[in-house]
Every structure is written in C-alpha cells, then in structure tokens.
C-alpha cells in the first residue's frame, strides 16, 4: 500500500461520485493536495449508472471521461477506493480521519485483460446493475471503471476459484493475502459528498414492489435502457422478458409523503420525462408511456423539455397519484388503480411495466457521520457554522440533479480551500 502523504493543508473528500470528483478536482486544480476516498471499487457513483442525462440526452460516460482525464493529469489527487471513513477527530484546520480499506485482492499490476474472469465460474449479484443480473466473482466494476482494475469478490477468497484466478493472471496482479487495513489521514478541511440512495420502494406497500416483478424503480429502468445493462439496452420486463411497450411512470413514489420522505426529490419528474424517450426510441411504432403525477416539477429551464414531452403523442399524462397496484395473474401485467383529479374518474389501467420514480434519500441519513454535523429533518447535511471545516456537497446536502450537484461541489471545494489557505497562512 502506497503511503498517503497528508498534512493539515490537505483536503479530504469523502465520496467519489460526480460531486466528490468535482470537489476534489476543483480543489486540486487550485493547487491543493487532495485525498479522495471512495467506498466502492470505482469512481463515478450513481452518475455512472445512468444511461443518459436530461435535458440534453447525452451520455454520462462523456462527462465522466472528461473528469477522469482531469484526474489522471493531476498529481495532487490521491484516490483511495474500497475505502470508508469510519471516524473523524479534531477541528477545523486540524482533522484526523480514520479510513478503513477493504481488500480488492488485485494490485496495481492489473491490466484489465479479463483472463481471471474467464476462469472463474462463481457468479455474484451485479451491484452496478442494481442486482438485476449476475456478474462473475472476478469482475471489472463497470466498463469505464477508474481505476481500470478487476476486483475479486470476497466470497471466493479461500476457495479453489480464487486460486484459479490467480493462476490465470499473467501479470502477478492477484494478491490473495491482502488484508483489511486502517489508516489515519490528516486534513485541514473535509468535503462530505457521500451522495444518495434510492428510497426503498418495498416500503410503499400498496405499490407491490418486491411482490410484483414488473414493478421496478426508475434507477433500475435506467439500467434496462443502457446497452451495458442486463438486457443490453432492450426494454424487457423482469417477469418474462417480454418487451415493455406500455410503460407507466408513477411520480412521487416515496417523495412528498409524510409516511416516507417528506421532501420533494426534485429530479424524479425530469427523470421520468427523460425515460419516456427511452420507450419512444425503443418502440417508435407502438411504444406508450403514461405518467401519473401530482404536479410536474420541471424546474426553471427544464420547462422546454416538459413541453416537448407533452407534445409527444405516445406520452399520456394522468393527474393522479396511483393509490395501489394489483396484478393480472394471467398476463403478469400490473394494474394501476386510482382516481384522477381532472374529473374524478376512477381508473384501473393495465400496463406492461410500472416504473416507480423513487425519491432520493441522503446516504448520510441514519448513518452517523463520524463528526458532529448538522442535518435537516430529511437527513441532508445543512450548512452550519458549527460544522467547522466539514462541508457537505452534492446529494449529501440536498436532493439535486447532476448539474446542481456539480455546482454544489464546486462551492464546497471553494469553502474547503479557504480553510486550508488559512492554515497555510498561519503556518507560514
């Protein structure tokens, strides 16, 4: 393990998604030393799991690639993957973070040739595809993973499978003796960018997520649409692999609900509007999307996007929050029940697939940030002078889309830079 040189002029960035990467890059490009700590095996976070962005419908791989190039070109950033911050002590200008590093069992020699994956036969849940499929127990986290290094799943360590993988590697990259490590990292300021998680849709009992196979979440639908996803980009529904031509989108699935998440998650309206494109593009002749909504919150400049989707004849808008979903046992089709607000008509509409536009829950919620940091009633980090030199960024602070996360991360980087500048002046 390479030693980490960190001082109290270093900025520690926790979380390697789009916000963390941005904060780390912005700070490093002003000349600061940065340590970027990421919990999973690769950078990119949930952004890398998107098929396309709204409103320009471009691919996240493009934006991520730019960021990765900036990262590779910058010697001031040290990236730690499979690493988790377990504690922070000290105060502004003088923090010490404890970081736990989980073994990858693959070292820097890895060329991502993939020989190990060929010989391993054990399969594990594909986390990158929200467990919609399986992956080999020796795997590359995703196609454009940074670092481009394979990972051996901990479940095969100590078995013949691991030995097979080791034997197949021509570069001596597989190291089965790696152990969990703990290290202390000094930092003057901390940017907390641990992002979000989709709200657990199974908790919305009347919608039957988990009971009905053809009720999925918006993040899962994103993986179905992606050519790198479990269905190679075809919109095939989980129960029987049938083409999902008639898709329902249910807005506010968990958001704006005192029984679930009290806040508006902000991105879900735009995400569903975007996903109607996927249906239209996959089935230009007979694709059909229905959006069930309370009100569409396509904020500020996204109004144009909304108007364009509204003009698409394959998309229907029903002003109503679906009350419950039942199942047509014969066809496997989910049936949406409710009453619409424009006329108060009771409906029971059958669809091939229902996509729940699930809300955004901060990852920091319920997890104690290893320092005293203020949070709001939804668990998002609040800007508070008492936070000292710890600054929230991206979805750890609010329900944001990628664009706004990047803005938030840049702002957090600037605040962190101010703190370490102060330290530097005091030490000079």
């Amino acid at each position: 393990m390479t030693a980490i040189v960190a001082t109290n002029e270093t900025i520690l960035v926790v979380g390697g998604g789009i916000s963390g990467m941005t904060a780390a890059l912005e700070a490093a490009e002003t000349g600061k030393q940065v340590v970027l700590v990421e919990k999973t095996a690769a950078l990119g976070g949930r952004t890398s799991q998107l098929y396309r962005y709204f409103p320009k419908m471009c691919h996240p791989t493009c934006g991520l690639e730019i960021n990765l190039r900036r990262l590779k070109a910058n010697p001031r950033i040290k990236v730690l993957t499979l690493a988790e911050v377990t504690g922070i002590t000290g105060g502004s200008g003088d923090y010490t973070a404890t970081v736990r590093i989980t073994p990858r069992y693959v070292n820097e020699n890895c060329t991502a040739c993939g020989e190990c994956a060929k010989v391993v036969s054990t399969q594990v849940d594909d986390q990158f595809n929200y467990k919609l499929g399986k992956t080999k127990a020796a795997y590359l986290p995703n196609a454009m993973a940074y670092p481009q290094r394979y990972v051996l799943d901990a479940s095969i360590i100590g078995t013949a499978e691991a030995e097979k993988a080791k034997a197949a590697c021509k570069y001596g990259a597989i190291d089965l003796d790696q152990k969990e490590e703990t290290m202390q990292i000094k930092a003057g300021a901390v940017v907390w960018a641990t992002g979000w998680q989709p709200y657990d849709a199974a908790k919305i009992q009347p919608y039957g997520y988990g009971r009905f196979k053809n009720v999925i979440t918006s993040v899962e639908f994103e993986r179905l649409a992606d050519p790198h996803g479990p269905t190679r980009g075809k919109l095939l529904r989980p129960s029987d692999g049938k083409e999902a031509k008639n898709v329902a989108f249910i807005q506010c699935a968990g958001s704006r609900d005192e029984n679930h998440l009290r806040h508006c998650s902000r991105f879900c309206c735009m995400a569903s509007l975007k996903q109607t494109h996927y249906v239209h593009e996959n089935f230009p002749e007979d694709g059909k999307s229905t959006i069930y909504y309370i009100d569409i919150r396509a904020i500020d400049r996204f109004e144009d996007f909304y108007q364009k989707v509204k003009a698409d004849s394959s998309v229907t808008f029903t002003k109503s929050k679906v009350a419950r979903i039942s199942l047509n046992e014969a066809t496997g089709n989910p049936i949406c029940h409710g009453v619409d607000t424009e006329g108060y008509h009771r409906y029971a509409n059958e669809h091939d697939l229902v996509v729940l536009a699930v809300g955004m829950e901060p990852s920091v919620k319920g997890m104690s940030i290893p320092a005293s940091v203020a949070a709001d009633s939804s668990g998002f980090i609040e800007a508070d002078p008492l936070n000292g030199g710890i600054f929230g960024a991206g979805c750890a602070t609010n329900a944001l889309d990628v664009n706004r996360s990047v803005q938030s991360a840049t702002a957090a980087a600037l605040r962190a830079v101010q703190v370490v500048n102060k330290v530097a002046r005091a030490e000079a």
Binding site: P206, C252, R256, D257, E258, N259, H260, I294, S320, K321, V322, A323, R324, H337, G338, V339, D340, T341, Y344, R346
Partner: protein, 210 residues
C-alpha cells in the same frame, strides 16, 4: 369595480373559513394537495350515493360550494375503514373530516333526510343517551319501522327466526320494549353530555374569534 376586484369577489368565499371553525378537524382541509390517493384507496368504490370522493369534497369546500357540500350524501357513505388516513401523504385525518362534515350538516338541518346512515345514527344516539345504555330491542324495532308500518312488519317477519333463536338462548328479553334497563346514574349522563356540548360551543366560539 375593476376587473381585478371583480375576480377577487368571485373567488372570495368564507366557506373554507366556516369549515375550519365549525367542523371537527376542518382546519386540515387546506392541507390537501389533490393527489387522489384517498379517493383511489376508498373501498366504497363509488357506490350509488358516493357522488364526490374526499379529494373532490375538499376542492369543493375551497371553491366555496357550500350548499353542494353540506347537502351531499357523500360524507355519510364513509365506513371509517381509515385506509385514506393511513395512505394520505399529508397525513390529513380524512375519515374524521368526513364525519365532522356530516355532523355539521346534520346540526344545520341540511343533511339529506333519507340518508340511511344518518337515520341510523340519529336512532342510535337518541336511544343511548336516553338511559345511558343502548336498548337493542328498541333500536332494531325502530330501524325496522323506519320506512313505515307495512315495511316494518315485513322486516320483522323476515327476521323472526333470528329473534326466536335469540329468545330461546335468552339473549333477547321482550320486556325490554317497556322501559328497559338503564345505567345507574342517568342524570349524571345527561349532565355530562350537557357539559360536553357547552365546552364544544366554547371551543368553536374561540376558534371563530381567533
């Protein structure tokens, strides 16, 4: 009058305010965001008489449709299953508001006269406050004869086997028709109800003044 002022007069109404002051839990009506989950979750499934789902009633209140709301049989159709309360994303006590509206309409004397829930509720209340105990025999006989003498006899005949069975099992005492058993402190019950009504009036007056 300017166009603005005209529109303001058109939309100005005091019914929402009246509901907030007079109807139990009425202050929650303004919180409805018209998502429709209550209506979609209602098991009465728009039976005849269930003209307006709760969500529509809330909108009608806000639109000032006083007569239409208060004379509607809709809120009398509520079976108190509480599905709407459980699912409401804004935690409105919808069941209670429905009962509150029904009660208010009844007190004003504008509730639909032949609504069966209302008839039964009246019968039950008058029956039990009289002696402090529900006289089941009088209650069921009263219910049988609600639509006239001949219908009452027909209803009675239809239930005669059940009545005889109850009689045999000593679960029905025909002498209950004359007076019937009472609670120990009948006057106490009446005094308590009187006091409760006074307190309620006071509370409403306070709300109206606020």
């Amino acid at each position: 009058m300017s166009a603005n002022a005209q529109m303001a007069t058109k939309y100005k109404n005091n019914f929402l305010k009246e509901v907030e002051e007079q109807v139990e839990m009425g202050e929650w009506v303004k919180m409805c965001m018209q998502c429709g989950v209550c209506s979609g979750s209602c098991p009465t499934n728009f039976h005849p008489g269930w003209e307006h789902p709760p969500q529509e009633i809330f909108m009608m209140i806000r639109a000032g449709k006083r007569e239409e709301v208060l004379t509607s049989p809709s809120m009398w159709m509520c079976t108190s299953c509480y599905n709407c309360i459980v699912r409401c994303p804004r935690k409105l006590p919808i069941t209670h508001i429905m009962h509150g509206l029904a009660n208010y309409a009844h007190r004003l004397g504008v509730a639909p006269k032949m609504q069966p829930t209302r008839s039964f509720a009246k019968l039950f209340w008058n029956n039990c406050v009289k002696t402090g105990r529900v006289n089941e025999l009088k209650l069921s006989v009263g219910l049988y004869f609600k639509d006239g003498l001949s219908q009452g006899i027909r209803n009675g005949m239809a239930m005669k086997d059940v009545a005889l069975g109850l009689l045999k099992a000593k679960r029905l005492n025909p002498f209950e028709l004359f007076g019937g058993h009472k609670c120990k402190d009948q006057n106490g019950i009446h005094a308590m109800l009187k006091k409760a009504r006074e307190l309620e009036e006071k509370r409403k007056a306070l709300k109206a003044a606020a």
